[in-house]
């Protein structure tokens, strides 16, 4: 026998289920209850940087859109600073910039969209820089543990990004890169997330 380690164990995950909206976006479930729903304003009014719109769908293994998905996003500001006290440059974040979004899909089409600013590059490990990216967390009925991935930008040089370069199969790296276009004068990045099968998105165990 040895001494026992006294660590607790992480609470196990369970699926968010089909009615996740009740708790996290009740307006979409069909009723108003809170003074304000959270995660609807990612960048705030005064953030510097390029204003962008990100759209996409989450697709299942048959290619069918997941119509009851909920996404959360986490990103740095245009200078690559996170609105979190452990970012060494935290004090320089613009008022109103939170960097966090909560997004739900359209119940009929599965399409989702959000508006934010394009983040800047931020520090990686061991002095490397990470290309600009937005972290995603994806939950839905049928997803037993929230899935984590990253979205990078097609108009940026991502060739030195240490995370993309960890993806062993080159052909899968493109699943992390959103395609830029201009629609009616708005900068739009399109980012589909494929849960399973051909072009399955690279998910991360963080």
């Amino acid at each position: 026998m040895t001494q026992s380690l006294s660590y607790l164990r992480e609470t196990p995950s369970q699926t968010a289920g089909p009615y996740v909206h009740i708790g996290l976006a009740p307006g979409a479930a069909g009723f108003q209850i809170y003074d304000q729903e959270l995660g609807t304003d990612i960048a705030g009014p005064t953030a510097k940087g390029e204003r962008i719109r990100v759209t996409g769908r989450v697709l299942d293994g048959t290619g069918t859109p997941v119509r009851d998905v909920l996404l959360e996003t986490w990103q740095a500001n245009a200078d690559g600073i996170y609105a979190h006290p452990e970012d060494p440059r935290f004090d320089a974040v613009e008022d109103g910039f939170r960097g966090w979004g909560r997004i739900i899909s359209d119940f009929d089409t599965g399409e989702w969209a959000f508006e934010t600013i394009k983040p800047g590059a931020c520090a990686g490990r061991n002095g490397a820089m990470q290309a600009p990216h937005i972290s995603f967390w994806i939950v839905a009925r049928g997803i037993n543990l929230g899935l984590t991935t990253r979205m990078y930008f097609s108009d940026v040089d991502n060739s030195k990004d240490p995370v993309i370069n960890m993806v062993e199969h080159d052909v899968r790296r493109d699943t992390l890169i959103a395609k830029r276009s201009i629609e009616n004068g708005t900068v739009v990045y399109h980012f589909d997330i494929v849960l399973q099968g051909e072009n399955e998105t690279v998910f991360f165990d963080i």
Binding site: I22, W74, A123, N126, R172
Partner: protein, 245 residues
């Protein structure tokens, strides 16, 4: 969380064998929604060890009282309960000032959701969601009614045990967690394919809230206690070069 500037250590590696696998054959919806490739393990960076923060300005005081937060002309029908507990990390340290959100069916097992078509009635005085911030000791509480069991289409006669969904943030994107809590003594727990997606009985037990008579309110409400454990964090005994060079 202390307002510490500069990088602290990584969070402990997630024990993925503590969680349900992505593919759980008997929970049918997971079959087409589960990745086939293994998740790529990532050394944490500032993108992972940070995460959204919330304050009391984000929520209202009544948001944790599901008996009153949607009441129209009376209280909701059902068994009145207090749900309380602590949010801790794997080092048993409290996680203060973190957002806890819950949602649930009403006493008849019906959700207030435009997609729920179960024949049990909507309760006009019950919304079914609440949220709160943990205090400086990681403690939280809600007042609500005990949700009912309800049928769902998986096999032809599956019933979900009574449960409350819970969403917790912690201090970093790595700690984000959604789970469901069940109630002590419910005979439907071992029958449920979603519960059975868990790897072992110990994991199931961690999701069963205990009847807590000491916290009940005599002549008013029963109480259930449910502690949540989020991932713990390394102490940086040695420089781990998370960010520096």
């Amino acid at each position: 969380m202390a307002h510490h500037k500069g990088p602290l250590g990584e969070f402990y590696m997630r024990d993925r064998q503590r969680h349900p696998p992505a593919l759980a054959q008997d929970y049918k919806t997971s079959v087409s929604r589960s990745p086939r490739f293994a998740a790529l393990s990532l050394d944490q960076t500032v993108s992972e060890i940070t995460g959204p923060t919330f304050g009391h300005g984000d929520i209202a005081a009544i948001d944790n009282d599901l008996i009153k937060n949607f009441a129209q002309d009376g209280d909701p029908i059902g068994e009145r309960i207090v749900l309380h507990g602590r949010v801790l990390d794997e080092n048993a340290r409290p996680v203060p000032n973190t957002l806890v959100e819950i949602w649930q069916a009403n006493a008849g097992g019906r959700y207030r959701h435009k997609k729920d078509m179960y024949l049990a009635p909507i309760d006009p005085n019950f919304g079914g969601c609440g949220r709160t911030m943990t205090d400086e000791n990681g403690y939280y509480f809600f007042r609500t009614i005990k949700p009912g069991a309800y049928p769902w289409r998986n096999w032809v006669n599956n019933w979900r045990p009574a449960h409350i969904h819970m969403s917790v943030f912690g201090t970093s994107f790595t700690q984000r967690l959604i789970t469901q809590l069940y109630f002590e003594g419910d005979p439907l727990i071992p029958k449920c394919p979603i519960v059975q997606s868990l790897p072992d009985q110990d994991a199931v037990d961690q999701l069963i809230a205990a009847l807590d008579l000491n916290a009940s309110l005599p002549l008013d409400s029963l109480a259930y206690k449910f502690d949540v454990v989020l991932r713990g964090r390394r102490s940086t005994l040695f420089e781990n070069r998370l960010e520096g060079n």
